[in-house]
């Protein structure tokens, strides 16, 4: 029971972090960033030296953890900001569909760039191996990593909350997320806030990359995709533009997935995702604005 709770929390953590990364950017520029998953993949690949051999040549991955963590976060933030400056800045006034397709095209470019440098073969990496040990807690034997995932996610969420609540920049970002044009009319600098959002979102992608990378030990160009999809859904059912809603929905999706895996009979288990998506449709039908509707986020359709 306790174990199931931890399973749900750790999976939910990944979705919640992903959803947060998407919601942050959606908040300030109404962009559903499909390149987010590829930023995650990029962060993991950044640990390896470019080579198309089957054997991974570990490069930054050998750094001690106190250098490794900032390195990966910076990689994510850097790439994300770069995407903003080079691509998304040109789409500020475009309609959401155009932006979405542009972000998809950008993700495509990142993915095939990685593919060219590293080949399509999934590679392996031992990331933070010390975390792969089981630990005993409340009578349940858990992988240490699961615990760290949950703790780290909580720490990130608390840190981000403090940042958004206590700093000037956080205030501007929340104001901009809710009503971007009003915030600008109050002198909030659009570029600064948007770049800040991209940097934070990229750093979150880096955090996911670290957790996911240590959990799976795999480096794969597809690796961001499945998290990205779930995170995207979580962002919407959480209430687009609502950061709290995104996190809540991320955890709920993780929980739904784990609970269905436990509760469904073995023959129905392969259909687990169909049930999860069915639940998503139900949520949308009953709360089209999401679980926590962000006030003032009038949608432009």
């Amino acid at each position: 029971m306790l174990q199931t709770l931890f399973d749900a929390l750790s999976l939910g953590s990944l979705y919640a972090l992903g959803a947060l990364g998407i919601a942050l950017i959606f908040g300030v520029m109404r962009l559903v960033n499909f390149a987010h998953g590829d930023v995650i993949a990029f962060c993991v690949f950044a640990l390896l030296w470019p080579s198309t051999d089957a054997m991974a040549i570990v490069f930054a991955g050998q750094l001690p953890w106190y250098l490794l963590v900032p390195f990966v976060l910076l990689c994510g933030a850097g790439l994300s900001v770069l995407c903003e400056i080079v691509v998304f800045r040109r789409f500020r006034n475009a309609n959401p569909a155009t932006m979405m397709i542009a972000s998809f095209a950008l993700g495509f470019v990142i993915r095939y760039f990685l593919l060219m440098l590293y080949s399509s073969r999934p590679k392996s990496i031992s990331l933070l191996p010390a975390l792969s040990q089981p630990v005993e807690i409340f009578g349940a034997r858990l992988p240490l990593l699961q615990l760290i995932t949950i703790v780290a996610t909580m720490a990130i969420l608390i840190g981000l909350t403090l940042f958004l609540r206590q700093t000037r920049f956080g205030l501007e970002m929340r104001a901009a997320a809710e009503n971007f044009s009003m915030a600008r009319m109050l002198g909030v600098r659009a570029n600064r806030v948007i770049m800040g959002a991209f940097a934070l979102s990229g750093a979150l992608a880096g955090a996911i990359a670290l957790i996911f990378g240590s959990q799976t030990g795999t480096v794969d160009i597809q690796m961001g995709a499945s998290i990205m999809l779930m995170a995207f859904i979580a962002t919407v059912i959480g209430g687009l533009g609502s950061l709290g809603g995104a996190v809540l929905a991320g955890f709920l999706l993780g929980a739904a997935s784990v609970v269905m895996q436990v509760a469904l009979p073995v023959d129905a288990r392969p259909f687990r995702d169909a049930f999860v998506y069915g639940a998503v449709i139900l949520v949308l039908l009953f709360r089209p604005q999401g679980l926590i509707a962000a006030r003032g986020t009038k949608e432009r359709v």
């Binding site: 559903v32 499909f34 691509v87 040109r90 789409f91 006034n93 475009a94 309609n95 959401p96 569909a97 155009t98 979405m100 397709i101 542009a102 998809f104 095209a105 950008l106 495509f108 470019v109 993915r111 095939y112 760039f113 593919l115 060219m116 044009s181 995709a225 999809l229 995207f232 859904i233 919407v236 059912i237 687009l240 392969p270 259909f271 687990r272 995702d273 169909a274 998506y277 069915g278 998503v280 449709i281 949308l284 039908l285 089209p288 604005q289 999401g290 009038k298 949608e299 432009r300 359709v301």
Partner: protein
Amino acid sequence: MSAVSSAPETQLTGDVIAARKPARFTLARKTIVTPVLLSLLLIAITLITVMTGSRPFNQTVIDVLVRVIFVVGLYIFIGNSGVLSFGHIGFTCLGAYAAAWLTINPIMKSSALPGLPDWLLQTRLIYWQAAILAALFAGVAALIFGKVLMRLSGIAASIATFAVLAMINTIYSNWDSVTGGTSSVVGIPIIRTIWPYLIGAVAAIFIAWAHAISRSGLALRAARDEPTAAAASGVDIPKERLVAFVVSGAVMGLGGALMAHSIGVVTPDTFYLSLTFITLSMLVVGGMGSLSGGVIGVVLLSALIQALRWMEGGVSLGDATFALPKGIQEIALGVIMIVILALRPSGLMGNREITLTRSKRNM
């Protein structure tokens, strides 16, 4: 952005009302040039292909024609309603499998897909009959899903349509006895002549045109541009959306059936994210508000892909052979798409249609 003050509203309401009234015949005569020109474009491409006699090129153009069907199918819903759908490839999947169920040799079928009902196991149709039934099947599925989903709008609707795609994919990937699970379903007769695909693409274009000038299509486009005004003048938005959803679902199903016949195998993952995104990209790059945009988006992007691929293969310039590194094609494609969208945010055609005289908005 808040509403553009109310003067245009009254004007548009007028448009909507006018659209509901007479003159359909005049409208048809005024706009038929567009589908005719688009069809002529496809016919010209097909004739050139047949004249070259190259089988790989023939297959390439078949692929383009199938994509035209997909993108036109997407346009019918997305273009007219303004709601982005990620779910339509699900209907393509339904169409492709329906075609497989209806055309595979019964002996093979009963060993590979034993879970099919008996009458279906015994059925074996000609490909075009199967394609029509597949389109109907996809249309019915779209009706069922649409009934539930068309109440939603905006991004919630987009996500819900995506959830439909994911559900269809999960079910088709795992219902082994009926769909063969993730494994390929084989034995679908392969049609390598180009003509059926041309007919399918032209039919899709004319269906899209007929829907666009129908009362339902006009009302839906009015609702896309001015939802409040359209609702005020009595347009039942969910109903008109549902009509478009069903028509486009059926066209997607037709495309799926033809795609199945063009390669001879179907698997669920063919009809998932990458096909969704490539077809959506073609529509958006071409201009999602116009039928011409969709068709031209497919033709241009396909030509671009082909050109890049050709350069990847190596081009002789005098003595030197110049070849792009493998894999650069996708990167270049992505970059070019971004550039096009940055320069023309509403796509190459914007909201215009091609006509003989000059480009015209919104047919």
